[in-house]
Symmetry: C3
Subunit: 359 residues, 3 copies
Amino acid sequence: MNPQYFSLEKLAHLVQGECVGQQDLQVSGLASLEHAESGHLAFVNADKYIEPAEHSKAGALIVTEALKAQIKTQQNFIVVANPYLAFAILTHVFERKHTAKGIESTAQIHSSAIVADSAYIGHFVVIGKNCVVGDESVIQSHCKIDDDVEIGKQCFIDSHVTLTGQTKIGDRVRIHANTVIGGEGFGFAPYQGKWHRIAQLGSVHIGHDVRIGSNCSIDRGALDNTILEDGVIIDNLVQIAHNVKIGANTAMAAKCGIAGSTTIGKNCVLAGAVGVVGHINIADNVTITGMSMVTKSISEAGSYSSGTPMLESLHWKRAAVRFKQLADVPLTQLMKKLDHIQSQIESLESTRLRNNYDD
Amino acid sequence: MNPQYFSLEKLAHLVQGECVGQQDLQVSGLASLEHAESGHLAFVNADKYIEPAEHSKAGALIVTEALKAQIKTQQNFIVVANPYLAFAILTHVFERKHTAKGIESTAQIHSSAIVADSAYIGHFVVIGKNCVVGDESVIQSHCKIDDDVEIGKQCFIDSHVTLTGQTKIGDRVRIHANTVIGGEGFGFAPYQGKWHRIAQLGSVHIGHDVRIGSNCSIDRGALDNTILEDGVIIDNLVQIAHNVKIGANTAMAAKCGIAGSTTIGKNCVLAGAVGVVGHINIADNVTITGMSMVTKSISEAGSYSSGTPMLESLHWKRAAVRFKQLADVPLTQLMKKLDHIQSQIESLESTRLRNNYDD
Amino acid sequence: MNPQYFSLEKLAHLVQGECVGQQDLQVSGLASLEHAESGHLAFVNADKYIEPAEHSKAGALIVTEALKAQIKTQQNFIVVANPYLAFAILTHVFERKHTAKGIESTAQIHSSAIVADSAYIGHFVVIGKNCVVGDESVIQSHCKIDDDVEIGKQCFIDSHVTLTGQTKIGDRVRIHANTVIGGEGFGFAPYQGKWHRIAQLGSVHIGHDVRIGSNCSIDRGALDNTILEDGVIIDNLVQIAHNVKIGANTAMAAKCGIAGSTTIGKNCVLAGAVGVVGHINIADNVTITGMSMVTKSISEAGSYSSGTPMLESLHWKRAAVRFKQLADVPLTQLMKKLDHIQSQIESLESTRLRNNYDD
């Protein structure tokens, strides 16, 4: 719990920024503008944070040149082009690192498994036949690494993760606690009123630099593999069904669910709790807003949504009743009808005018 | 499995109720009106349960004075002002208590951790550096209590829970199985087409008397802490993102998801599967109905909803098509247009009448 | 990892199909049409797969008689009435079976528990008082089988599963990793601004041939039991609240949530992320489409839906604004009004015509 100190100059150097003010200021940590104290470094990312920055007790600020010019009350700065990125980089300086190496005495590792000397295997971890754990990877306590699972280098697998279904994982992959990867896909053949289980024979292939949150379920494929390409990032409680393929650098917020055999492109962003139906394709660079239901393929990059806006409940009930009625209201016909009526009236009025004129 | 018996009088005393009928009736348990047998005590909470109560085989009933007067077939009662509360209290009498104390031989506890003598630590639990477990707390098997986590008194932590990120937990907190608290928040800075991980440096602070269900994910803050105030109750499979703050006594049903940096007030109720976007504020005493999508701050107490009502699928499809068309139907203009047409017609009709009159 | 080979004739025999072509073709596995190689068997289930089948490198195909007649480029077939069912059956031939029996040395089993000799108990499993594990059941590593839980024959319980609340499980039940069954239901009595916990005294009863995915939460009942009848199949991340009853052979896709005391009939299908409110009844043979919100009982078999279709976000915003306005647009009145105006105009026009005629 002893904080570690870094000089402002050193931190500026780490993000290739310009150090302005007290070069030897000792920084003990990063903090938000609101909660920062004099030993803290905070960041300012937009004009709307100038006022909070001026009232912040932070010892120094990460800013752009333009923002620095507008903040009058502060003396110490790290000036960079992209303060948020600089902040992201500096979080790693202050993060606690896992330093232990080796295998805890209580771990159960099959004799055929290959575990790098520089890896760490926590208490009560079980590693099955033919598994591989690469250099500097950390497997936290209670993980189950089932037979034939392979884990690359510098991975971090948190406690209670279950890796099964012969899953293959690249380098620098982070998997958070209690997630299950390679579990059996939900495949059943209906026959004579019963469900006949289809044993799942595919696997899960995960690329490099993938991040998966806690309590996620990523199922093995039925025949082919479920695939997460390099750089995919996934939040907590996400469901990825069998044979889904997710393109490189796609991000998925918490509680998303992707049904079987769907392909999602590269660089997509799915906000929280989005649901995507099975057997469709989503193009690259697609954004789906929160809680949307995607029921068909998307072939064009862009932003897509579904749902209804939140309303006060009584207001909502009235609107919801009308939604039901909509089924029997031919809206486009109604518009045409109205236009038609309008022209009939104009015709009638011109007749009236003529008649009046005739008078 | 031997049932324990309590006299009706004793149970009445425990809820400060009036015992009517056979004082020494031996009660072996609580049951629903429908499934109760002669040794069981059931409760009646509203007029609509009078008929089921009259047909129930329960040996005795918890009722109000008013309900008692209407139930003709039963002789034995505990009469109270609030039967549901009395029932809630009596469930604790018949609940199996965890009585074991001490540390199971297989647990792995770091020498710097402080575990109260009256606590129970189950098999294969791992407790890291500087952890604290308070008096009479129960940590079930396979839990991972990571470095610097602190747990108060009389807590109950069920199996496979992962507590990490230096989480601090108050007294009488209950956390159900396979939940993850203090996992890394989902923070990434996009730069040049890739996601740069932001190490999460905040923690999770949980107050007293908090209840968290199974398979939940509550992430540590990025810089500041994620906070659950006293008396918060949370059901299963709930996602609480980094830097969320939840006010005292707020209840959240299963499958809710709260995105990052959102503040929810005190005494709120979120029904099942509600989604709340990040960086907003929800006032005290707000109710959100099930599966609603909250996309902006709520400043007034009240009830809020979104979504559409369930319909037979063919009906729904017609309504859904019309929802799409709505985008191009200027509803308010349409209403005005209709009113305008109405007045034009009235004008035309008066002309006709005049004309006719002129005839 | 050594593949096992089966002759085409043998495989045809296993599914009671007709073997056409090279009877002694050695098949090493099943594969999709797209990824199959010469040692693989693939299946064709519909006319739309005829072209992919003709281009597939698969060594043999499972087909119907009618499909066979249309596939010109292939020589080797297993001809059956239902290729998908035949495929489902053959997946079990190529599946890796769990063959180990007995109890791993690290498992902790209470002396009062009864574990069949033919069962397998993995590393670090904890089994409590009075538990029963039936013949040939497999309990994978790190499972927690709490006091009084009973598991039937030939069950498969994957790693990190928590079974508690005196849960009773039938035969041939499969429960995937990190699922929690029998956890405490979410029951609280509100009183004087606080939530008073209701200890849950019911259990969970699971029939035969039930399948439950990973990361599910199925809570014990408050007084009566939560019940899953025979043949129910459930995908990942599903929430089943206390006192829910699910009828035989009902299927539930990932991320569904069923609130407390709801009864769902037999042979229902709930697509992904469906939410069902508490205390309602759903009839047999009901289908609910994905992400629907079920807020009232369904008494008729059929298909039901809610939600809105996905739109490009700007289009959606316009439609969403109109949804709000709908609350104040009396749609059915509007239609009547329009009809009324139409008839007024017709009347005016006939007057005009008459007037004109009169001219």
